[in-house]
């Protein structure tokens, strides 16, 4: 059995282990289960004092950032559909693995 040691007043997770802890003042012991949940998939929720699913990351295409750039927009507005497709293809090749970013990540590749 895996156990969680939780700060009683806040629900903050203090410790995880498979040795039954002693109950101490200010701490609550929560039985987790026979195995520790995959922390890559789940995270501790202090309110419910359980492991909940992690939110799935949202990815954004950096090519979709470009029309919002005022300098790029000047060029973009003058291109035909075929030219826009060609430019996107070339930029996608240039960006490679860095084409996609997380929605909470800035568009510039390097700071």
């Amino acid at each position: 059995m895996w156990y969680a040691v939780v700060e009683s007043t806040t629900g903050r997770l203090l410790s995880l282990g498979d040795v039954r802890p002693e109950v101490r003042p200010g701490q609550t012991i929560v039985e987790i289960g026979a195995t520790l949940p995959d922390l890559g998939q789940r995270m501790w929720d202090e309110a419910s004092r359980t492991f909940i699913l992690r939110p799935v990351p949202v990815f954004v295409d950096r090519l979709d950032d470009l029309p919002a750039d005022p300098d790029f927009a000047i060029v973009w507005s003058k291109l035909t559909g075929v030219q826009r497709t060609a430019l996107r293809t070339a930029l996608a090749r240039l960006l490679g693995d860095y084409r996609m970013r997380r929605d909470d990540e800035p568009s510039p590749l390097f700071k």
């Binding site: 040691v5 410790s15 995880l16 995959d38 922390l39 990351p57 693995d97």
Partner: protein, 274 residues
């Protein structure tokens, strides 16, 4: 003040892998994910008794990959793992290097070899092994293989450490071992990501501790690292620390970071003691 002994500091003779290029000797993981690949010779036969083992490692720049690396001594087919499950984890396809140094007794004539498993089929890594014969007479020679704690060979990752819901406040202690199986006086602390791209720049600070749940005591505190979305490997990703780790104690780790983003606050840890 370190005890280097009388006559200390008068030199160390090193021998290293024979290289045909500057890129190191490549080992390859199994074509089956999370399965160790074949042993690759790093040093065919050491010329003299060794007291130190130093391994330089270079990753190939494979995206979203986690590796567990074994170092062994012994003839082909009779390898004995002396450093098990060295963790290296990365999110983006960016090549990186790492190094470990261990005080370890290695008899003359020993073959040094390496193998690895990876969360990506046929992942590769490059190595150079150096064996040092120290004349620091006061420095303890450590024999016997190392023991790893926290490695998950089913995923090629370390123990997952969540830095928690509050920025710059240490998260929960996570158990690496309910009871350590051998004493150690030298630790390699391997720090990794959860092998996924992260956003922005992240600073992270790890603690290694011992003790029962709820009453853990810090053994080594604030092992700090940094990573960012372009090179999301924790740097430094391997830290060697001379510290006494008793046998039979519960070994734990925890960390804090400057992010609470659920996908970014996950790290992995393997502690190797000898």
């Amino acid at each position: 003040m370190p005890d280097w002994g009388v006559g200390g500091g008068d030199g160390t003779a090193w021998e290293s892998s024979a290289l045909t290029t500057a890129t190191g000797i490549q080992a390859i993981a199994s074509a089956t994910v999370n399965v160790k690949g074949p042993w690759v010779t790093l040093l065919a036969a050491t010329a003299r008794d060794g007291d130190w083992l130093l391994v330089n490692m270079v990753s190939p720049g494979l995206a979203s990959a986690s590796y567990l690396i074994d170092i062994a001594i012994g003839a082909a087919g009779a390898e004995m793992v002396v450093i098990p499950n060295i963790l290296f984890a990365t999110g983006t396809a960016f090549s990186n290097g790492a190094q470990i140094t261990m005080p370890m007794t290695i008899p003359a004539g020993s073959r040094i070899s390496a193998r690895l498993q990876c969360s990506v089929a046929s992942g590769t890594f490059k190595f150079v092994a150096l064996v040092g014969s120290a004349s620091w007479s006061g420095y303890p020679a450590i024999g016997g293989p190392a023991t790893d704690y926290g490695a998950n060979t089913a995923t090629s990752k370390g123990a997952l450490i969540d830095t928690g819901a509050t920025i710059n406040v240490k998260g929960a202690w996570t158990q690496l071992s309910a009871a350590t199986t051998s004493e150690a006086s030298w630790l390699i602390v391997c720090l990794g990501t959860n092998s996924q791209p992260i956003a922005g720049s992240i600073f992270v600070s790890f603690d290694i501790g011992v003790g029962g749940a709820g009453v853990e005591q810090v053994l080594v505190s604030h092992i700090c690292g940094i990573l960012n979305s372009s090179v999301d490997v924790v740097f430094p990703c391997m830290v060697v620390i001379p510290v006494a780790l008793p046998r039979g104690v519960r070994l734990v780790a925890r960390a804090s970071s400057n992010t609470t983003t659920a996908a970014d606050r996950l790290f992995t840890v393997v502690v190797i003691g000898v």
